[in-house]
């Protein structure tokens, strides 16, 4: 138990915070699973269009580790397998059979028995049921390596980016499942399970987990910051990380013996109509199009799975994804400002003092859009990227090393403990419009390829 005060950081004030209320979302006929969500995965399909499947049937497996299976969230008929580039299956559409909700059952455990299970059996169970990919690892921030022996597990119940689902709300009523999930995670590591919360959030302490409270502005809720303050990664270290809601999913799987049926998603952002900005309890994989059609503003918008700083753009005819608890909607802002280089800058959101808004209006909420507000220029190492970086990594130099694919310097400066999301603010404030997150992602890929 410890309190950490994160001094550096910045909260971007965007309009459209979801209300702390969960609405039950109607049952849907169409479900989808997106193999493309699992970065770097090489899927081997086990179904084809027309197959009749049960809830929990295997849809595809990981070619590199055939124990890692991915299962269907509902029973019904496979309507289509849509292929993308190089015949990669980007989505599997399933027509749900509402009459026949037959489900495959797995072994059940209790909160106590799960703690006594040998690690190997537990890992195999999670791999087999298709929930293992919820657990990620550092370095490289990819699906956790089942063979690794992590020195700790970090549960992120904090979340400081605009906006993240309110975990204290999600937790209500599922405390038991959450405890079971923690017990299972404790079995994966020799070290401790760290439960990291935001200051002021209403989350109790749990057994088998060390609670930590992080206060301060964004990125105080990022997992990398938690790791850095509690147990920094050195080369050859591995830690597992997981989002708090996913711990509940694992807990439910273990106690009920069935795949967890629902999860909570927060819908927010300036592109969502006021009355729809709230949390929704949706079935995993369920079609979200009916909701989005109603909820979105009638303009060109961008839908983001995840938060606005680190999420991915998704189409409107989307289903609830495997990862992420947020859907953020922004307006596509293609507007052009006359003489933008010299106007007072009262109407443009900026943290830089060359815009008047930075003196006067940083406290109010802004209806931000996707405009870059400038064109791309060569990167200049100014030290500005470090302005809101609580990780002790010399952001500018790390980015430069990553740009040059200098793996030694990247590792020395601490890239292994980061995820591209930690560079979102650096990218946000950069006047040269450098794609910092992309550069770090490629840097990490290079290190993974070359070895540490």
């Amino acid at each position: 138990m410890a309190n950490f005060k994160i001094k550096k950081g910045f909260d971007i004030k965007v309009e459209g915070k979801p209300k702390a209320f969960i609405e039950e979302y109607a049952t849907q006929h169409l479900f989808a699973v997106y193999p493309s969500e699992f970065e770097g995965l090489k899927p081997r399909l086990k179904v084809q269009a027309g197959d009749i499947i049960k809830r929990g049937d295997v849809l595809f497996e990981n070619k590199q580790n055939e124990k890692m299976l991915f299962r269907s969230p509902c029973s019904g008929t496979v309507r289509a397998v849509n292929l993308g580039e190089r015949r990669f299956p980007v989505e599997i559409l399933i027509e749900c059979d509402l009459q026949n909700q037959e489900s495959i059952t797995f072994e059940t455990y209790t909160s106590e028995t799960i703690g006594k299970l040998p690690k190997k059996q537990l890992v195999d169970h999670l791999l087999n049921t298709g929930l293992w990919p919820l657990i990620k690892q550092r370095p490289f921030s990819k699906i956790a390596d089942p063979e690794a022996s992590p020195k700790a597990v970090f549960i992120n119940a904090a979340g400081s980016a605009p906006f993240q689902a309110d975990f204290s709300l999600i937790l209500k009523g599922d405390e038991e499942a959450f405890q079971t999930g923690i017990n299972a995670l404790a079995g994966l590591t020799e070290g401790a399970v760290h439960l990291c919360k935001s200051a002021g959030s209403d989350i109790p302490d749990f057994k088998n987990a060390e609670s930590h409270i992080f206060s301060g502005k964004h990125p105080s809720g990022n997992t990398s910051v938690h790791i850095n303050r509690i147990s920094p990664i050195q080369p050859n270290d591995t830690v597992y990380t997981i989002a708090a809601q996913d711990v509940i999913l694992i807990g439910k799987l273990l106690t009920t013996g069935e795949l967890p049926k629902t999860k909570v998603i927060a819908l927010g952002g300036p592109g969502v109509k006021e009355e729809f900005r709230q949390h929704y309890k949706v079935e995993v994989g369920a079609n979200l199009q009916p909701l989005l059609e109603k909820a979105l503003e009638d303009r060109e918008v961008r839908i983001i799975s995840g938060n606005v700083l680190s999420g991915d753009q998704i189409p409107q005819n989307t289903c609830a994804r495997y990862y992420g608890s947020e859907i953020f909607v922004l307006e596509e802002d293609r507007s052009r400002n006359i003489l933008g280089w010299t106007m007072p800058g009262l109407l443009q959101y900026s943290v830089h003092r060359v815009n008047l808004s930075s003196f006067l209006k940083l406290k109010q909420s802004w209806k931000l859009g996707t405009n870059t507000h400038g064109s791309h220029r060569a990167m200049v190492v100014t030290g500005w990227m470090d302005r809101y970086q609580p990780l002790n990594i010399m952001t500018d130099y790390l980015v430069r090393a990553a740009l040059a694919l200098d793996t030694d310097e990247m590792i020395q400066l601490g890239i292994l403990e980061t995820d591209p999301e930690d560079f979102a603010l650096a990218s946000f404030i950069d006047p040269h419009k450098t794609d910092v997150c992309g550069i770090i992602k490629r840097g990490l890929e290079e290190i993974e390829k070359e070895g540490i």
Binding site: Q234, Q348, H352, R377, T382, M394, D430
Partner: protein, 410 residues
């Protein structure tokens, strides 16, 4: 307006797109287009929102910061000319007009020639025109004497842009400050016209028609050459007092601070420079670390020379004079803070600024061949700044490794 913009987007823009008639000149079109309106681009990946700052705005704001120096420089050039040439009916306005006729052509040539190089490289390399040249093109004239022949301005800015910047790959890749590189080139290539120890108050062609505007120039007055305060201080004989030597030549602490003395266009007035510095600091563009540590370095080295038992009257000069004389203040505020060539780490900036200040005084006092030390000090530290940063980064790596070890063992 809307009609005009629609016309631009539909009719003109396609000509410069890929496959269009003027594809080669796309950077030129892009420059003009984004001058009038910010680009319509949207983010391609996370983070999906961006700050509304861009390089254009940053660079233009640096130019705004230079305005006090520019306006003062124009007035001062005219005033010095009129005083030296004994113009009888000179007023504030004839000073301004005379000054403009001397200064504006230099700025025009600097922008024209510098701009041509920038556009040429942008078109050939197919990158966008970088706004950095706007600042270079303004900084360079401000560190020139107003009487410099225009062909030298053209050669100087060409050297600065091409050798100082473009051969490295353009803004962001250069090692030296391009404007200072250009000045250093002229300093060594044409010392007679630019030399740090003598400035021409100079006569400029006399056009009878403009008599009314410019004032009547007394006949038979050739260009007058006056030694700069730095040269006087350096030449002060052993045993005499450098301050007295300055005073007898007409340089007092007050006119050195105000800048009502002959010298480079923009760098004589400490007051105008400080106005610019305050603007840069309020807007957060330039680093206060470089400026502050530079001043401290200059003061510390000046004070050190004061106490050292040296047989040199320049060494005994109070450090305040070092700060207001010559190009030091202009250099530390506008040149040393150039984000590309300056140190990038916070600690590095402090070391870098301090050493510029200290080296300036060292060169001035200890090296009689180069009375103006600021230019050389900044260029030298430009070269050294990657080295400083290297050591700062290495020290940082050691510290963070120790931090990780300590936490893990705890």
């Amino acid at each position: 307006m809307k009609f005009l913009f629609d016309f631009m987007d539909k009719k003109i823009a396609p000509l410069f797109e890929k496959g269009g008639k003027f594809e080669l000149f796309h950077p030129l079109f892009e420059m003009g287009d984004t001058f009038f309106r910010t680009p319509p681009d949207v983010t391609k990946s996370a983070p999906h929102i961006r700050d509304s700052i861009d390089q254009k705005r940053l660079m233009v704001f640096v130019i705004y910061a230079l305005f006090p120096c520019l306006f003062f420089g124009i007035w001062n050039a005219g005033n010095q000319f009129n005083t030296a040439n004994g113009v009888e009916n000179a007023t504030f306005w004839t000073d301004i007009i005379r000054g403009s006729s001397m200064v504006l052509p230099i700025i025009f040539v600097s922008y024209l020639v510098g701009g041509l190089w920038e556009v040429l490289f942008a078109c050939v390399r197919r990158h966008e025109i970088n706004e950095g040249f706007l600042v270079t093109g303004m900084l360079f004239p401000l560190v020139l004497p107003p009487t410099l022949p225009l062909w030298q301005v053209a050669i100087g800015i060409s050297f600065g842009i091409v050798i100082g910047k473009e051969i490295f790959g353009g803004v962001g890749y250069n090692i030296l400050n391009p404007a200072l590189t250009a000045r250093a080139f002229l300093f060594f290539a044409y010392p007679a016209q630019i030399s740090g120890d003598k400035v021409w108050v100079g006569s400029f062609g006399d056009v009878p028609l403009l008599d009314k505007l410019l004032g009547t120039v007394a006949e038979n007055v050739d260009g007058v050459t006056r030694a700069t305060p730095l040269a006087i201080a350096a030449a002060a004989e052993t045993g005499t007092d450098a301050v007295t030597a300055l005073n007898t030549s007409g340089f007092t602490l007050s006119n050195l601070t105000l800048g009502t003395i002959p010298g480079c266009i923009g760098s004589t007035s400490a007051v105008a420079i400080l106005l610019g510095a305050v603007f840069l600091l309020i807007t957060g563009i330039a680093s206060w670390r470089v400026m502050l540590s530079g001043l401290i370095g200059c003061a510390a080295m000046g004070a050190l020379f004061n106490v050292l038992p040296l047989d040199n009257s320049f060494a005994a000069l109070p450090f305040v004079y070092h700060i207001v004389m010559g190009g030091f203040l202009f250099g530390i505020v506008f040149m040393a803070t150039d984000p590309v060539s300056c140190s990038a780490t916070n600690t590095g900036k402090l070391i870098y600024g301090f050493l510029i200040g200290a080296l300036t005084v060292l060169i001035r006092v200890a090296n009689p061949a180069y009375p103006e030390g600021a230019m050389l000090a900044i260029l030298f530290m430009n070269v050294m700044s990657p080295l400083i940063d290297h050591f700062v980064v290495q020290a940082h790596i050691k510290k963070r490794t120790a931090y990780a070890r300590a936490l893990n063992n705890a």
